[in-house]
């Protein structure tokens, strides 16, 4: 309220420096500098602004710093800095403490009232308020952000138009391709490519491949379908994909941080896509942006996908039955290049021999791969001209996801199980602040998809940490459930608060009433007061009951009302109180007053 200057100057500098330091670190990380540079710069700037400008009132300096911090946060929060959540929380807490401290110091500059109680110790009060406010703010953010996102966020944003440079520098995992060369090492960095707002983690699938030649994956069916506009666009259901027809819906909103992507990522299998782009779909259900990159997604572009997948359990997959793939498709997904050495098939048959069904066979193959191969992105590539899977299984036994997934697909096919290779991204890390999945270049992944009759394509990957086939129901985060129940929780909180308030009011009223009616005199006084209020002559606080009864007698023109005061005085101050007959007489008088409507 008043200006905080003098002794408060030094203490104010601490939270202000922390807040601005956090904003500085956020900005530095976003611009590619070390966080410490921004942290130090922001903190020093805040300290100088507060401590080195004695002519400027501290309150004014601190408010300026808060404004600067707020603008900085708005400017740099959308970035993809690695410590964004931590820095945002730090900024929020430090700003909160700054405001609390500023208010407290303002109060301290006011002159104490004569005889007033001293204020609670500053440190204690600031700590107490800060903790309470931090809890309230955290709960509000936890409930409010999903609510705002669900109700206010736009599911489609055009974003920045990608430049040629963006297209050239984009990793292969963000570009549509007709083939996947297994002898090329992928680029895996920490750069964020996109974020996904989804209830549960899943593979963010980009493409699938069905034809394996021993070195690279290709697509057999090269047909492309234009998806009509406007948004939302319904994707063609891939042939014989039961999951895409009757599975559970999963809505995802993708926001690109990368400058370019012409792939439309989606959890298997995309059904409805909301976007402002022209799209095309392949026969396998994968979708990409039409226009050879000119129409691609740029930084800030947002689209929303609703996918469907049958949530299957292990027993579902073991007992899977129903329509299998048509013969021509079945042959396609079971085909193994003739050049692939026979020992691959023998190995697969040996590993799966004990298994009785398709699911157990895949699990057996996964188990063998897990036990006998090693994951490494630095693994040597296969020698030129050599079958990559054979080399991986019988020579190097070290490779990255593409070798492992390809081996699983080829081995599955070798034992007659329809399989294909899928590429895309693993879910990434969930941002604790926003609940979104942050997906980086290093999350690019390849995995196997196995066909189950009556269920459809199911993902399998021994290296993945996502719920795979047979793991329906695993979620791993409280945020989605919190988001789902946010409105209910808010309603319950409001209801509880309202009930508590009503209870307090009722208890107070009952207590007052009981206190008033504890004695005959109190009850009679209360009745007299009520009669007086009805005629618009409430008792003044300085008025005795006798005086009040006299006044009412005059006002009503009924002299007997004055005796009520006399008897009440007698009851209160007389040697033995009022007699029974006097009480009865008073009761009659008061009752007669109460009975009359529209007194006087």
């Amino acid at each position: 309220m008043s200006d905080a200057t003098g002794p408060g100057r030094r203490i104010m500098a601490v939270p202000a420096a922390v807040a601005l330091g956090a904003v500085g670190a956020l900005a530095a990380e976003r611009m590619g500098f070390p966080a410490l540079v921004g942290l130090g710069g922001g903190a020093v700037a805040a300290l100088l602004a507060v401590l080195a400008l004695p002519s400027v009132p501290t309150r004014r300096s601190v408010l300026f710093l808060l404004v600067a911090g707020g603008l900085g946060v708005l400017r740099h929060a959308p970035g993809s800095s690695p410590h964004r959540s931590v820095l945002l929380v730090t900024w929020a807490l430090a700003s909160l403490v700054t405001l609390v401290l500023l208010e407290r110091l303002g109060a301290e500059t006011t002159t104490p009232a004569s005889g007033g109680a001293p204020l609670v110790a500053r440190r204690r009060e600031v700590a107490r308020f800060s903790v309470v406010l931090a809890v309230i703010a955290a709960m509000t953010v936890a409930l409010g952000v999903p609510f705002a996102t669900d109700h206010l966020s736009r599911g489609v944003v055009a974003g920045r138009e990608p430049t040629v440079g963006d297209a050239v520098s984009a990793p292969a995992s963000l570009r549509t391709a007709e083939e996947l060369d297994m002898t090329t090492r992928p680029r895996l960095s920490d750069r964020v490519v996109f974020t996904v707002d989804a209830e549960r983690p899943d593979f963010w699938r980009g493409e699938t491949f069905d034809a394996w030649d021993g070195i690279r994956w290709r697509r057999t069916d090269l047909r492309v379908f234009s998806l009509r506009r406007p948004s939302p666009t319904t994707v063609l259901v891939p042939a014989l994909d039961p999951g895409a027809e009757r599975g559970e819906d999963l809505t995802q909103t993708y926001r690109f941080e990368s400058g370019f992507s012409d792939l439309v990522f989606a959890a298997p299998s995309a059904r409805i896509i909301e976007t402002d782009r022209y799209l095309r779909a392949r026969a396998d259900g994968s979708v990409f942006v039409a226009g050879l990159g000119a129409n691609a997604f740029g930084e800030g572009a947002v689209y929303t996908v609703t996918s469907r997948r049958l949530a299957s359990t292990e027993s579902d997959l073991r007992e899977a039955s129903g329509a299998d793939l048509p013969a021509w498709l079945s042959d396609l997904y079971r085909s193994v290049p003739t050049a692939t050495p026979a020992r691959v098939a023998r190995l697969a048959e040996r590993v799966t021999a004990p298994a009785a069904n398709r699911y157990d066979k895949i699990r057996a193959l996964e188990g063998w791969l897990g036990e006998n191969t090693t994951y490494s992105i630095d693994a040597p590539t296969a020698p030129p001209g050599r079958d990559v899977v054979d080399d991986f299984l019988f020579r190097s036994r070290i490779g990255w996801c593409e070798q492992i997934a390809s081996s699983l697909v080829v081995m599955a096919r070798s034992v007659g199980i329809p399989a294909r290779l899928a590429t895309g991204f693993v879910p990434g890390t969930r941002d604790p602040l926003t609940g979104r999945f942050t997906v980086r270049e290093r999350d690019a992944h390849a995995w196997a998809e196995i066909w189950f009759p009556g269920i459809g394509w199911q993902g399998f990957d021994p290296t993945a940490s996502v719920p795979l086939a047979g793991e329906a129901g695993t979620d791993g985060s409280w945020l989605p459930s919190l988001r789902r129940s946010a409105p209910a929780l808010a309603a319950v909180a409001v209801l509880v608060a309202a009930l508590a308030f009503a209870a307090v009011v009722v208890v107070r009223r009952v207590r007052r009433r009981r206190a008033r009616r504890a004695t005959w005199a109190a009850a009679t006084r209360h009745r007299l007061d009520r009669v007086g209020r009805r005629i618009g002559r409430a008792r003044r606080p300085d008025e005795t009951v006798g005086e009040y009864a006299d006044a009412l007698a005059d006002a009503l023109g009924r002299p007997e009302v004055a005796t009520v005061g006399t008897v009440l005085d007698l009851e209160a101050f007389g040697p033995s109180g009022a007699g029974e007959s006097e009480r009865n007489a008073v009761d009659e008088v008061v009752a007669s007053l109460e009975a009359v409507k529209g007194i006087p």
């Binding site: 707020g70 708005l74 945002l88 609390v100 208010e103 109060a107 109680a117 309230i136 599911g155």
Partner: protein, 315 residues
């Protein structure tokens, strides 16, 4: 009064006022939520929701804090218009507040709760006051919103606010020099015309009081002792039915106070809620109470033999 001071006093009459941090929080909330939603950027939305939480809590908290503060006040029974009178204010509640009398331009004073504090109150008008207005304000915990609440608190006993007093000289029924002489001499000779007795002359007795027949008969100088004259004083007739009733009250109060200070008896006639009221007052407090109760209406006629001072009446 400066323009800033006028603005500040005017704002204090409202339910409260927003501060610069309020503007900051609100702007951050609007921009964060709207911008975050538009860009599909949840981190920005989170910043906006956080700012909104600060804004809402910052407004709600002071309002809730003052809603649960109970105020009771005791005041001295007598006061004068324009003079500061101490009010003893008991505050029951939690937290800390700033307090001042709403009827005065007193500065704010801070205290933690519960507390019993003394604040200055400067009555602005004459009358019998049974309620006073107290203002509390607080902006805890964020300083986003300064909640100002005005309490009309009933006093357990009324406070009589007398008119302000101006310096006056009064003329009673006697000449001033005679009155002075009477006050200073104290010789017991008396001032009236009736002779009570004679006594021997003592040095200093005026020669005009020598009673020659007795002096001749007894062979020495004797002087007369007179009965004192009938005691009279000032009858102040306060008629507040004229065009400037408060001016009349001030006039009556000033004359009465001056007369009492001069040692004169003072009779005052006013019109109260029950009709004309009159009587002699013996001290300033009693005079003030009578004038505090006075209302517009015809006062009673003054008693015979008193010097009459009419205050107010027809303009």
């Amino acid at each position: 009064m400066s323009r800033r001071a006028v603005r500040r006093r005017a704002s204090a009459t409202g339910p409260g006022e927003f501060t610069v941090p309020a503007v900051l929080c609100f702007a951050l909330a609007v921009y964060g939520i709207a911008g975050g939603a538009a860009a599909g950027e949840d981190a920005t939305t989170a910043v906006g929701v956080f700012a909104l939480a600060c804004f809402v809590v910052g407004v709600w908290w002071p309002i809730a804090a003052l809603a649960f503060v109970r105020v009771s006040v005791t005041a001295p029974p007598d006061a004068s218009v324009g003079s500061v009178v101490p009010l003893r204010v008991t505050l029951v509640g939690r937290g800390r507040v700033e307090i001042r009398s709403a009827d005065a331009s007193d500065p704010w004073r801070r205290t933690a709760l519960p507390a019993t504090v003394t604040i200055g109150h400067r009555p602005a008008a004459r009358g019998v006051v049974d309620t006073v207005r107290i203002q509390l304000r607080t902006s805890v915990p964020l300083g986003v919103f300064i909640r100002i609440r005005t309490y009309s608190v009933a006093l357990p006993r009324p406070m009589y606010v007398a008119p302000r007093t101006e310096v006056r000289s009064v003329r009673s029924g006697r000449a001033p020099e005679e009155r002075d002489r009477r006050r200073s001499r104290g010789s017991g000779i008396g001032e009236g015309d009736a002779v009570r007795s004679v006594r021997e002359y003592v040095a200093g007795d005026p020669a005009r009081l020598v009673h020659w027949p007795t002096s001749a008969r007894r062979g020495g100088l004797h002087v007369r002792e007179h009965e004192p004259p009938p005691t009279v004083g000032i009858a102040v007739v306060a008629d507040l039915s004229g065009g400037r009733p408060e001016r009349a009250a001030v006039d009556a109060m000033s004359v009465g106070v001056a007369a009492l200070a001069a040692g004169d008896r003072v009779w005052i006639g006013t019109h109260e809620s029950g009709g004309p009221a009159s009587g002699e007052v013996t001290d300033r407090r009693e005079l003030g109470r009578r004038l505090a109760r006075a209302r517009s209406g015809a006062p009673p006629p003054p008693p015979a033999g008193w010097t009459v001072h009419r205050a107010g009446g027809e303009a």
